[in-house]
């Protein structure tokens, strides 16, 4: 196994720049998923049955379908006008990969899936607050909106920070899936580098870049970033536990699942 390609030409930089694309996609999708997930969580706690059901349906459908199925479907089925519209009108400061006609499908898929996951995280966070908190707020004469805005959400949201950061780790890994719809992020760049993407450009140098070692390097890039994030999440968890009124003695079994 040869790693000579790593320090020849601009190969490593080629990969690192593509890796940045993954991170950008993850951040964009995360912000949008948070914006969709929070209302969904509030909807799923609503007292109005149809609202609750609609939120539950959204969550159950998008959380239980393979992400790659949604991304492929959206890439095939998104209206042509939307795809070419984005390609032609995307702001010029975006990198090429983010101006691709398929990027909307990729990001929409990631947002649908993650909004469902985050809605559940938010819901659990709100429900894990001691019930007395909201009751006390109600007893003080606050309206439902005030209870949520002033008492429940500030504490609940803080509780959700660690879980949201771990979801960012999952999302980070999931961004590699858009390589399957031909967006040039790090995995696709790796395949181009090793000449396995059906692309005549094979790295631009005389040095062979075997796909095995290219993929190992890409894997290590993800480990480095995600390890930092999971350390951060653990620290936030330790710090947050002391600050909020949570129900005591929740069982300590990890609820993490690969996604």
């Amino acid at each position: 196994m040869s790693f000579e390609w790593v320090w020849t030409d601009n190969n490593l930089r080629f990969l690192a720049e593509a890796f940045l694309i993954n991170f950008e996609i993850a951040l964009i999708a995360m912000v949008l998923a948070l914006a969709v997930g929070l209302p969904l969580a509030l909807m799923s706690l609503s007292t109005i049955a149809p609202v609750r059901l609609a939120a539950k349906l959204w969550v159950d459908v998008f959380r239980n379908l393979p992400l790659i199925l949604m991304i492929l479907f959206l890439a095939l089925q998104m209206p042509e006008s939307l795809k070419s519209g984005w390609q032609d009108n995307a702001p010029g400061f975006l990198p090429d990969a983010l101006r691709s006609q398929f990027i909307l499908a990729g990001i929409t898929g990631l947002v649908l899936y993650n909004s469902a996951v985050l809605a559940e995280v938010f819901r659990a966070g709100i429900l894990s607050l001691a019930k007395g908190q909201q009751e006390a707020a109600a007893a003080l004469g606050m309206t439902y909106g005030q209870q949520m805005r002033l008492v429940v959400l500030p504490q609940g949201l803080r509780r959700m920070v660690p879980a949201t950061v771990s979801q960012l780790i999952t999302l980070n890994k999931d961004t590699t899936l858009v390589s399957i719809i031909a967006i040039q992020e790090v995995v696709r760049s790796g395949r181009i580098l090793s000449g396995t993407a059906g692309n005549p450009f094979s790295g631009g140098g005389d040095v062979q870049a075997p796909i095995l070692s290219v993929m190992i390097v890409i894997g290590l890039m993800f480990v480095a970033v995600n390890l930092t994030l999971s350390r951060l999440s653990r620290r936030l968890e330790e710090r947050g536990a002391e600050r909020t009124a949570t129900t005591p003695a929740a069982p300590a079994v990890a609820e993490t699942a690969p996604a």
Binding site: L69, L72, I211, G219, V223, L227, P258
Partner: protein, 217 residues
């Protein structure tokens, strides 16, 4: 809509069967490997713990797609004659084993310390305490989380099929039906139905296990 299914039922059903076998085999790999790693993680030696921790971090933080490219084209191009099935099962199994190890480890730690101490004070040896007191209780607390891992695995199996050409799983078959019939919505809808069937079945199995064995603490 139903016509599309009845016309192509052979393909959809064989895809569903491939996905089922892929998930079942990977589940076995994940549980066996995960248990071994969890054993390292709860061992009384610091360095053994660390080794288990490194395994978990590496495989939990690497995208499954990257593992698949390492396992199949990567190894094959380096001259290892690995089959599509072996590579797919190994990648999905190893990826999931890191999550299984974490769940088992936290399950062991969720058993109250007094339980192990009581066992020791009754004259049980350390391995006996593990086998007879801690593990039976830990097994009960991890049923739920193992269920979510299995469901995630069903969804992740679609990534295996999407990246390894020689593995015709449910999503791959649906894509073939789509390219033959140009009925994209229906083809993907039936694939989605297949995946939901699998996840619902697994949910029911784990829920009934949980209601039978789980302990409230």
């Amino acid at each position: 809509m139903f016509e599309l299914f009845s016309d192509n039922s052979d393909q959809f059903l064989s895809g569903l069967w491939v996905t089922t076998r892929l998930v079942a085999a990977s589940f076995l790999v994940a549980v066996v490997l995960g248990t071994l790693i969890a054993a390292l993680r709860v061992a009384p030696n610091k360095w053994v713990n660390r080794a288990g921790g490194v395994y978990v971090e590496i495989f939990r933080d690497t995208p499954l797609l990257v593992l698949l490219f390492i396992a199949y084209p990567g190894l094959r191009r380096s001259g290892v004659e690995i089959g599509a099935w072996t590579a797919g099962i190994a990648a999905l199994g190893v990826y999931t084993s890191a999550y299984v190890a974490e769940v088992l480890r936290s399950g062991v730690f969720a058993v109250a310390r007094g339980q192990a101490e009581a066992g020791l004070s009754l004259g049980f040896t350390q391995p006996q305490v593990m086998r007879r007191i801690v593990l039976p209780q830990a097994a009960r607390t991890v049923i739920g989380p193992l269920g979510s891992i299995t469901i995630a695995m069903i969804k992740n199996s679609a990534i295996v099929g999407a990246s390894i050409v020689a593995l015709p799983d449910l999503l791959k078959e649906a894509r073939i039906v789509n390219s033959n019939t140009f009925q994209t919505e229906e083809s993907f809808l039936w694939a989605a139905v297949g995946y939901l069937l699998l996840t619902i079945t697994v949910t029911i199995i784990f829920r009934s296990l949980e209601s039978r064995y789980a302990v409230r603490r």
